[in-house]
């Protein structure tokens, strides 16, 4: 079944056992994103270092489909405790992969389990689901920096 390209085991695993789920305080910036077509929602919080270069803590709460949930869990794993530079690298790599229609060699060092989302890129209707958490995290970081 072609479908197993999208729903890879690692995705279903993140969906069933999400990492890092649950909002935490204190935080420096928060963003709430919605996918208006299906109603999926996510809130992401980030706590940055004084100089704004390190993500001390990322936390989130979300409801939605397996792809959006797994993507949030993977995003947490890749981003929590990393530098904002690493975040930019990972989110750019992830965005490029999602816009590739599936023709892409994702870098596992940068994306970790995120490489499993390559199959999702072949389904245009689901790309938004995969991107939701990353976009919200990006916004939360911008807000956290804006408050400084």
């Amino acid at each position: 079944m072609q479908l197993s390209n999208m729903y890879q085991e690692v995705i279903l695993d993140h969906y069933k056992s999400p990492r890092g789920k649950g909002l935490q305080s204190p935080f420096g910036g928060e963003a709430h994103h919605v996918n208006p077509t299906c109603g999926d929602e996510i809130t992401v919080r980030v706590l940055l270092s004084e100089d704004g270069k390190t993500i001390h803590k990322v936390s989130y709460d979300s409801t939605g489909c397996s792809i959006s949930q797994a993507s949030a869990s993977i995003m947490f794993e890749q981003v929590d405790g990393k530098s904002t530079e690493d975040f930019d690298k990972a989110s750019n790599e992830f965005l490029a992969m999602m816009q590739s229609k599936g023709i892409f060699e994702p870098n596992e060092d940068i994306l970790g389990d995120g490489i499993s989302m390559i199959g999702v890129a072949q389904y245009p209707a689901r790309i938004k689901c995969a991107l939701l958490s990353w976009m919200a995290a990006k916004d939360a970081i911008i807000r956290a920096n804006g408050d400084k």
């Binding site: 079944m1 072609q2 479908l3 999208m6 729903y7 279903l12 077509t37 299906c38 109603g39 999926d40 929602e41 409801t63 939605g64 489909c65 397996s66 792809i67 389904y123 689901r126 689901c129």
Partner: protein, 431 residues
């Protein structure tokens, strides 16, 4: 479950051959099982041919030009109007072509706004169309956004207040609350005939009577009813009804508004420009009579002609037959879903008072994931909030999976859907 096609007098297999798209393959070379007609219907060859024929043989501007082709095009356009008007039992003059049902409803709401604004600056308008702060507009909780947002907008621009009839847990309007929501302040009542999410049917007679009792205008969003059951405008007691062509086997890009002659006479134009004027000077203009008063610009004539062919096709099958066939499919679907453990059906589960649009949930699974696995089997269903977010809030869900039928669906389509749902549970290991 066994199939019971033999009990149906219609030859659905033969009807399916009229729809070229149904013979194509979709994902994984699967046969297409199309269960999303509440979003848009498929088109029979006669409709595609009628539209092509317009472009191939008579394409020209309608209602302008005195040459041969322009006459043929104008005749074809107006013949289509006659056929569609006859279909809902009104005169041709009562039928306005629009872009889609959303535009039809906006035509109504903007007529009130335009009348209210024009009166403010001294123009002569019918007082019944003027909205003052504190006037009320009543809709229901199960409206499609198309019959909700235009009224919210109208309230913001006039100071009118929006109220709504709540729905019961079964997805029907809570008529017991209606009396307390209607008063002489109520100027407009606009409700949908059939829910595009739950399939529930509104008691139009009851709401219409309530509207008349306070002298309110009564409008109906008939998008889900006109394609699926006999609808006679004169029996609805409405001032206007709006629906779309593409949900009733017609082309995309054409919608309809049927209204009383009186309302069409008093409403000021919505969109203005060419085709809708009598005389124009640099100082001012006067307008033609309805329906053309509301049809500014070059009309989508080929689409109108295609829709005329769609209506003739539906009439040949018979709306009563279509309604009966869909009641049969709905019963199969609802009974089948009830028998699958872990499925929740939203809306009425009694086939007597519902249309063939069925929303449901597979417990513990997100509709997007459900739709994806069904798609893998060639089954096209809609997942999401169906442009009716308030119903989702009422049901306390984010979204639902929705299957809806039409004349080209048969028992085996429903059977495939039910098997597909078992497969979804298997795929995600939920059973």
């Amino acid at each position: 479950m066994t199939t019971t096609d033999s009990k149906i007098k219609l030859d659905i297999k033969k009807i399916q051959l009229d729809f070229p798209i149904l013979s194509r393959e979709v994902r994984n070379n699967r046969k297409l099982i199309y269960l999303d007609s509440a979003a848009t219907s498929q088109k029979p060859q006669v409709v595609i041919d009628a539209q092509n024929n317009f472009y191939e043989t008579i394409n020209s501007g309608v209602h302008r030009g005195a040459y041969y082709l322009a006459e043929l095009a104008t005749d074809a356009h107006e013949h289509a109007r006659e056929v569609i008007a006859n279909f809902v039992n009104i005169k041709s003059e009562q039928l306005v072509f629009t872009k889609n049902a959303t535009e039809s409803i906006n035509l109504l709401s903007y007529s009130f706004l335009n009348a209210t604004l024009k009166a403010k600056y001294g123009a002569e308008v019918d007082k019944r169309l003027i909205l003052n702060p504190g006037d009320e507009i009543l809709v229901s909780e199960l409206e499609h956004h198309a019959n909700l947002v235009p009224w919210q907008e109208l309230c913001l621009k006039t100071g009118a207040v929006l109220k709504w009839i709540p729905i019961t847990d079964q997805g029907l309007l809570d008529y017991s609350k209606m009396d307390s929501l209607i008063s002489p302040k109520t100027k407009i009542i606009s409700v949908s005939h059939m829910s595009n999410v739950l399939g529930s049917i509104t008691d139009i007679e009851l709401v219409g009577k309530a509207a008349k009792s306070v002298g309110a205008f009564f409008f109906i969003d008939a998008c889900q009813s006109v394609p699926h059951m006999p609808v006679d405008f004169s029996k609805l007691g409405a001032d206007a009804i709006a629906w779309s062509g593409h949900k009733m086997l017609g082309p995309l890009g054409i919608g309809l508004l049927a209204a009383t002659e009186e309302l069409l006479e008093i409403m000021p134009p919505f969109i203005s420009g060419g085709s809708m004027i009598e005389t124009v000077s640099m100082q001012k203009s006067t307008f033609t009579k309805a329906p053309k008063k509301f049809e500014a610009g070059t009309p989508p004539a080929a689409e109108a002609v295609g829709l005329g062919a769609a209506v003739e096709y539906l009439q040949k099958i018979g709306m009563e037959n279509i309604h009966d066939h869909e009641r049969h499919l709905t019963k199969l679907m609802v009974d089948g879903l009830k028998n699958i453990e872990g499925v929740t059906i939203y809306g009425p589960t009694d086939d007597q008072d519902r249309g063939s649009t069925v929303s449901f949930a597979l417990n513990g699974l997100h509709p997007h994931d459900v739709g994806q696995v069904l798609d893998d089997m060639g089954i096209a269903v809609r997942v999401g909030n169906h442009c009716a977010r308030p119903i989702m809030d009422k049901l306390k869900v984010q979204s639902t999976t929705r299957a809806s039928t039409y004349i080209y669906n048969d028992d085996s389509d429903i059977q495939t859907l039910l098997e597909g749902i078992d497969e979804v549970f298997r795929f995600f290991g939920s059973k």
